[in-house]
C-alpha cells in the first residue's frame, strides 16, 4: 500500500473514527459523505469504543502473497458496540474457540508491511475478551 493511502486513513485505522448521520442516526465506519439509509449529508464524527461481537468468521489458509507469512489466520465480521460492522482478523485465540457472538476487543497491531524495507502499516485486530 502506498504510504499516502495508508496515511489518509489513520483516523480510522489508528483511532477508529466513525461518523453518525445527524438525520437518522446510522453510524458508519469509515465515515461517508452520504448516508446510505436516509441520504443525509451531515455527520458527527466520533471514536468508536473498542468492543464488539463476532457476527461470522472463517480461517484463511490460502492467503494472497502479501499475507502468506501470517497464514493460517482467523478472520471475522465484527459488530461493534457503537453500531458499525467491520472486517478484522481475530488473533490470540485457538481456532477451535471461534464462535458467533463471542465478545472481542480491537487491539493495536501491525497489519502489513511492504517487505523488509518498505513502510509498516498499523491498525487494529480483534482479540477475545476474557475478563
Amino acid at each position: 500500500m502506498p504510504p499516502a493511502r495508508s496515511w489518509r486513513a489513520y483516523p480510522q485505522t489508528y483511532r477508529l473514527e466513525a461518523a453518525r448521520c445527524s438525520k437518522c442516526g446510522k453510524a458508519f465506519f469509515p465515515p461517508r459523505l452520504v448516508c446510505n439509509k436516509c441520504n443525509g449529508r451531515q455527520f458527527e464524527h466520533f471514536e468508536m469504543k473498542h468492543t464488539g461481537k463476532v457476527v461470522t468468521h472463517t480461517i484463511i489458509r490460502t492467503p494472497s502473497d502479501e499475507f502468506s507469512g501470517q497464514a493460517p489466520f482467523a478472520l471475522g465480521i465484527i459488530q461493534m458496540d457503537d453500531g458499525p460492522r467491520l472486517t478484522s482478523q481475530i488473533v490470540d485465540l485457538p481456532f477451535e474457540e471461534l464462535r458467533i457472538g463471542m465478545p472481542v476487543r480491537l487491539e493495536f497491531r501491525r497489519i502489513s508491511s511492504e517487505g523488509e524495507a518498505g513502510a509498516i502499516h498499523y491498525g487494529h485486530k480483534a482479540v477475545p475478551v476474557r475478563i
Binding site: Y10, Y14, R15, E47, D65, G69, Q70, V91, D92, P94, E107, F108, R109, R110, I111, G115, I120, Y122, K125, P128, R130, I131
Partner: protein, 352 residues
Amino acid sequence: MVVGIVGYGAHIPRRRIKVEDIAKVWGADAASYKRGLELFQKSVPALDEDTITLSVEAARNALARSGIDPKDIGAVYVGSESHPYAVKPSGVTVAEAIGATPDCHCADFEFACKAGSEGMFVAYGLVKAGLIKYGMGIGADTSQGAPGDALEYSAAAGAAAFIMGADEERMIATVDETFSFMTDTPDFWRREHQFYPAHGGRFTGEPAYFRTVTGAARGILEKSNLKPEDFKYVVFHQPNGKFPKRAAKILGFSFEQIDVGRLVPWLGNTYSGSSPIGLTAILDVADPGDRILMCSYGSGAGSDAFVFTVRDRVREVRDLAPRTRWLMDENVTYVEYGEYAKMRRKIRLAEK
C-alpha cells in the same frame, strides 16, 4: 510543585515459551537457567506485535487510569532498543493512535534497557519545568537474543507507560527524588545493521550491572536521605531472576521488598520495559503512603533511579485497566521453538 504519576499501564504479549523448549533445541541444560538465573519462561510477541503496538496498548491503559484528555499530553517518549524503524519515530505513531497529536513533542529514546526510564525522567522534568501539562514516558521492547545465546532464554517483549503530571487530584504516586548514574561501560551493544546484540559475557555483571545499579541506588538514598527500610517496595532492572536479588542483598533490601516487582522469572527480560513493568505491578497492589524505589539499568551503561510515594487515588484507578499480574498470567498460550522462531523472524524466508 509536586509532580508524579497520574496514569500508568502495561501490556504484555500473550504467547510464552518455556526455557526447556529453548534449551532442548541447543542441547543446553535447562536446569542451569532455571536454578542459576531463575528464568522459567518468557513472553513472545506475535508477528503483528512490535514496540509500537505494545506501546499503544500500554499507553491506552495509562490513559484509562489517568482519566485525562489525550489532547493535554504535551510529550510522548518511547524508549526501546527494538524500534520498528531505524529511521522514523515510534512516538508519533503512538501519539497519533492515542489522539495526542499534533500539539505534542515526540522523541524516541535508545539506551539498551534503560530507554524506558529515560522517557519517564524527561517527561517528569518537562512537567516539573512547567513546559507541558502532562508527559508520557513509555518503555517497550520486543528484544532479540541470538539463537542459542544466553540472552535467548530471557529476551522478551512487553511495555509500560506512565503519564507524568502535576495536578493533585489525579496524583497516583509522587516523584520525590531522582538520580542518575552514568559511565562508559561496554558490556552490551548492537551495531548498525546487526540483527542480534553482542555482549561481554561475565563482564556484564560486576563492573556493569552491579556497579551501576548500586551506584544509582546509593546516590538516590543519599540525596533523599532515606534508608532501605524506608521503602515498602523496590524494583531493579531484571535481566534475569538472580541479578535483582543480588543487588538487593548488596544494598540491604529484603527479598520481600523486591518480590512484587520482580517479574522476570515468568515474563523474561522485557528490556526497556523491565523495571517500568515491575513498577506497574507494584502500583497494582501498593497502599497509599507506601514508598517505592526504582532503579533501571541500561548497558553502556547507566541507571535512572526514582523515589515514589503512593497516593490514595491508586485504589480508585488500578482496576480501570488490566492489572499487570493478570496480563502475565491470564490468557496465556505456550509456543514451541519452531513457532517461536517463526514469530521472531529467525527463519530465513524466500525473497519476494
